[in-house]
Amino acid sequence: MMKRYDLIVIGAGPAGLSAAIQAAKNGVKVAVFDENKSPGGQLFKQIHKFFGSKEHKAKVRGFRIGQELLKEAEQTGVMVHLNAIVMGLYNNKEIMVNENDQTNHYKADSIIIATGARENMIPFEGWTLPGVMGAGAAQTMMNLHGVKPGSKVLMVGSGNVGLVVSYQLLQAGVEVVAIIDAAPRVGGYGVHASKVTRTGVPLYLSHTIVKAEGTETVSGAVIAQVNSSFQKIEGTEKHLDVDTICIAVGLSPMSKLLKMAGCKMEEAAGDIPGVDENNQTSLEGVFIAGDVAKIEEASSAMITGRISGISAGRYLGYIDDEVAGNDISKLKNSLAQLHKGMFSPENKGRIDIEETDEGYKTSESLLKKGYIDDNEILSFPGVPKKKVVGIHPVIECVQNIPCNPCQDACKNGCIKVGEIITKLPAVDPDMNCIGCGLCVALCPGQAIFLVDDDYSDDYATVTLPYEFLPYPKAGTKGIALSREGKRVCEAEVLYCRTNTAMDHTALLTIKVPKEMSMKARFFTAKEAL
């Protein structure tokens, strides 16, 4: 007999779970289907702290948000069918599901498709060799299964996925030999690029992968420079000694079920379903949530999920029209906050942004080299221009991205972002910093440092966010690296602090010669670099 529900949600990732929770809260009988053996989608491999503001769960690591969602789903009575591959969606809102190699049918009065996205690939010579994999695959291997995907990795793609996964590879103890991108500028957030660059990982922009070398597995890679039409420049080939090549060149919606049911797509042959302002597709009662409609961060997916949950609840008659309208408009405001700034959907692909929203000249170097150049750093509002006595924050956050945990982190009001969360954080020049370092630990972009130029006659201290093991012990001597990841001077570890609130971002305080306090941004105990 065919089982019936009020609402069927396909996909138990951040979008699908959020949608199901929101509908269930309003009394809708919901079942979620997911092909995996555990729910959460890709959220459990997101181990970095999320951007946004408090309502977007900023500064919380992705997998912890996943744990919260699962708890909420349980509390609201959302039923999740796992190991359940939805093979078909029919236009009478019936689904066909493969469970334990049996085919079952389910029917609902409303459907929400939250099937997410898949990684894009680029073909090149040798791209099918074992050792070439999606960046997401590498992330799955290391963050879910605790196994390194390789020893020496080339990352292809400098978008947020490429940058974040590169950083996570370093955290797993894997060497990132280089990050390349065919575009002439860094694709992802500058703060994500900076935290990789300062560890010494080289970034080759206007470079493409020519081939993966090897017969049985990857034994190397050849990259080459490209011209402005993305054509390879002969004679610029360079060999890299790697055993793994990760591909991070974007994602595409997995919208096959919608196509099967006859849903109209934005473009006839495209992957993106056309939807109205309440996330309803061209099929009445069939809604979408998350990446299946538009590739974004998980934070946005959770909001679109909630919007769809409410829309479905309204469609089914469980939610009053006015209440639904109000709730949806609140969620849309929240989503709009994430859609502002330099990386907003409308600014996507733009390369002509010369000024920040506040009128500061954008950092050219951050876009073209992946770090803020010494001669640009002083022009931003998070960096004090005059000499500050004693310890104080230096905020190297210079692009309009939607994020404000630094403002909440400082109980002494030294840091101001304001109402619009994409504004650059400004440091009050007459501040009363007590050196607690919470801003350093809670900044999801790891872009805040504490500097004390008055440590002694000859030395200053720099406190930096540190998420690598082992934590260097007090007294360890090593090398301070610049934003560019180059050796700047000798440094000595004074202490390495951590506490629960900092959630695994340690504060590493190093002692450097006074004149290096605005240059030293990373520490390595390794001698040679």
Partner: protein, 102 residues
């Protein structure tokens, strides 16, 4: 290839250590982890060879989508090793085309 201690995740929850065979050789992995994790940890990267040209293939998407990592498991071909949990005594074999080597 295992990550002993992780700066954010600390330790990975794993099942019991179990023995399995890869192409007849004894190996160890953790019960319940995907087969691919146990193989990767033991340095095995080639999962299969393609039907027509015999080219090697390994893990590619790691989430059960691409089917590049399929192997012969307990005599059954085309098993997606990235989403199939390891069990004690499993016989895992490199896949050649759509079966084992003749």
């Amino acid at each position: 290839m295992r990550i002993d201690k992780h700066p954010v995740l600390e330790e990975f929850e794993k099942g019991e250590v179990v023995e399995f065979t890869f192409d007849g050789k004894n190996m160890f992995g953790y019960e319940g982890e995907p087969i691919v994790a146990a193989l990767q940890a033991s340095g095995v990267k080639v999962h299969r060879h393609t039907t027509k040209t015999g080219e090697p293939r390994g893990v590619f998407c790691a989430i059960g989508r691409c089917t590049d990592c399929v192997m012969v498991v307990n005599g059954k071909p085309n098993v997606r090793t990235c989403v199939t949990p390891l069990e004690k005594g499993m016989q895992i074999e490199t896949q050649y085309g759509i079966g084992t080597k003749e």
